[in-house]
Symmetry: C2
Subunit: 384 residues, 2 copies
């Protein structure tokens, strides 16, 4: 057949490739077919027999570097792609990793292996573990965090909560991720009042507690809110990258006018990990991708809470927050979701000192005096 | 127990509520527990016993309006929330629909029932079916679409492809969604050349073919590219809202300087629908949400192609593109993914005239003369 493709300009690539590890379901034959399919679907998206010979067929199309059994019905494939297909943004990297193939069953992206040439396009976390420790003045122990809630409280009452938490020695006080700009709790008033309340508590305690408003919104508005928060004295930001897009979070992280630590919240990202054979592995989504997208701490549902992550998955996330990733800073894992003070020692045993412990509702449950509850929380962390 | 919650400001809500239909797995007892959990998790995210009495407990917390069996192991729950919790953006609506509960198994959001008070916050599709027909001059038949590919071709060669497609009578020529701003195919050069090639063909044919570049990118850059495309003569835009976030697509749709039809591509959205008991229903994601986010046509993998959607799921999407949704325009369903010309009559039988038929690789396969292939494609559509 005569090729219907006009090709007058020859393609010149560097030859450098990056690798993605996939988990593929099925027999060896089925897994091999899925691997071959990924090579085409994620690049040329073209019938194999029509792909022009030369560099498009030999280099642009993905290449199955290896295929090894995990179980009898699942294989691990390493597939490489030329670095040039990623272009210049995170969106297109994500598209190569899991764009069209998200629509096909039994394919899970497990891990990225990116060369320096791609990694240097990403600024990554602006602060990371070291920067967050410097800003909060916490040298050795885990950072303590809690959330302003429940939704329905007015800014004045949330500010009173923030004041009590800060007085009790919590390090990072974040908005609950459902607080945005509701009529009963306007963003600006909330941020003004809560930032002031935390600053007032800090003057009394001499501590460096930070207030982190939730700026999750449509991208332009998110950047505006982030800059507002900075000017109002917020010490960091909460963003749900599942709702905004990872690249939108990255834009806030990269903004020099904002220049605040970012805590990433997992809302709306569950569909990517809720099944073990599709979407992303936990450490890829909440570890590698969160870092590439500029988060300084990554919240995920802890094992044994009201969500469904296993202890092993949580530990894999924690490992990915500090695994080498070019020159990108390690970030804090932030296990959360139904934690109580009683579970703090266990959580510390599992994750060690290098984390943010996020106790939300559980901090209210311990007793009627919130300041005292926070002091108990802090003592538990200091004893570790 | 004394409540630890300070509440000095009383909450005043309108009393108006919106409804979300969920499919919940498990026995009746389990489904009821999941429904109750959604009510708390998606609003106050607080231990039930600590939720303050009064309007927060009575109104902010979701309310299970009904729970009916679908099968022995699945129930349909209608849950209502006060309109005020949605705040002022699509992100927070998505957060209420499937934020934290995306992290829990056996919960699928099936449908939104939004009152006028929420719908009027959304401009929705700027053109819709009627506007797209006006711009392309296609009165009765389905609109014909194809894609510029394979990745690896230079702008000059993609422009030559675009020219042949336009000469053959295709209505909408889109970039393949993997074309962004790669070194071998820079965005500006591609858009300049392809828009010029399509304009040249239009002058020869007297037709109104539109070129739709892919502007998927980090949000600010996406808006810049969309405006550039407009000034270069593009007739529409391709956006992957899974990669950019739905709200970022909406921002482009709402931008008066851009003012171009938007075709939404499903890349990276598969994890939300790939399992029948989690994430979103097909019509909610590719129908209702695509419209709320401003798409004028919504691409989805057709049944019987190389993806896994069923015929029923595809028909549900098509129905949702025209179901009443306030004053928002109906949009075109755009079945795609491995379609061949041989299947065009069958696709038309199923979806009728009100659609965009997207044949990509299949258009290259029909024979070596692309212009002739397009004429066959067009004749098939005109015969219907």
């Amino acid at each position: 057949m005569i090729s219907p493709i006009p090709q007058t300009v020859s393609l010149c690539l560097s030859g450098e490739r990056f690798r993605i590890v996939y988990r593929l379901g099925g027999s060896r034959g089925e897994a091999q077919a899925r691997a071959n399919d990924i090579c085409l679907e994620q690049t040329v998206e073209f019938p194999e027999e029509l792909v022009p010979s030369g560099p498009i067929r030999d280099e642009v199309v993905g290449r199955v570097e290896s295929l090894e059994p995990i179980t009898e019905k699942a294989f691990r494939a390493v597939i490489s792609f030329p670095i040039e297909v990623v272009g210049d943004d995170l969106s297109q990297l994500l598209n190569v990793v899991l764009g069209n193939i998200s629509l096909k069953p039994a394919i899970r992206a497990e891990k990225l292996d990116l060369p320096e040439s791609i990694l240097q396009q990403f600024r990554g976390p602006r602060f990371g573990r070291k920067g967050l420790r410097e800003r909060t003045g916490v040298v050795h122990r885990p950072l303590l965090s809690t959330a302003l809630k429940p939704m329905g409280l007015a800014p004045a009452d949330l500010a009173e909560l923030a004041y009590r938490f800060a007085l009790g020695g919590v390090d990072l006080i974040k908005d609950d991720h459902g607080l945005t700009n509701q009529t009963f709790c306007r963003f600006e008033e909330r941020v003004d009042r809560c930032a002031e309340a935390v600053a007032r508590a800090n003057r009394q305690t001499g501590l460096k507690c930070a207030y982190l408003p939730n700026v999750t919104a449509t991208p332009v508005e998110m950047l505006r809110r982030a800059r507002y928060a900075k000017s109002a004295g917020a010490g960091g930001l909460l963003i749900c990258p599942g709702l905004t897009g990872l690249d939108a979070m990255r834009a806030v992280a990269d903004d020099d006018q904002v220049s605040l630590p970012i805590v990433a919240h997992p809302a709306f990202q569950g569909s990517f990990v809720v099944r073990p054979d599709e979407g992303f592995s936990h450490p890829l989504l909440f570890g590698q991708l969160a870092r590439l997208a500029g988060a300084d701490a990554t919240i995920f549902p802890n094992f044994g809470g009201r969500f469904s992550f296993t202890r092993e998955e949580c530990c894999e996330i924690a490992a990915a927050t500090e695994a080498p990733l070019g020159t990108l800073h390690p970030i804090f894992p932030a296990p959360a979701g139904g934690l109580t003070l009683a579970r703090v020692p266990e959580v510390q045993q599992v994750f060690g000192r290098e984390m943010v412990i996020l106790v939300g509702g559980g901090l209210f449950k311990h007793g009627p005096d919130l300041v005292e509850n926070c002091r108990v929380f802090r003592k538990l962390a200091e004893q570790f």
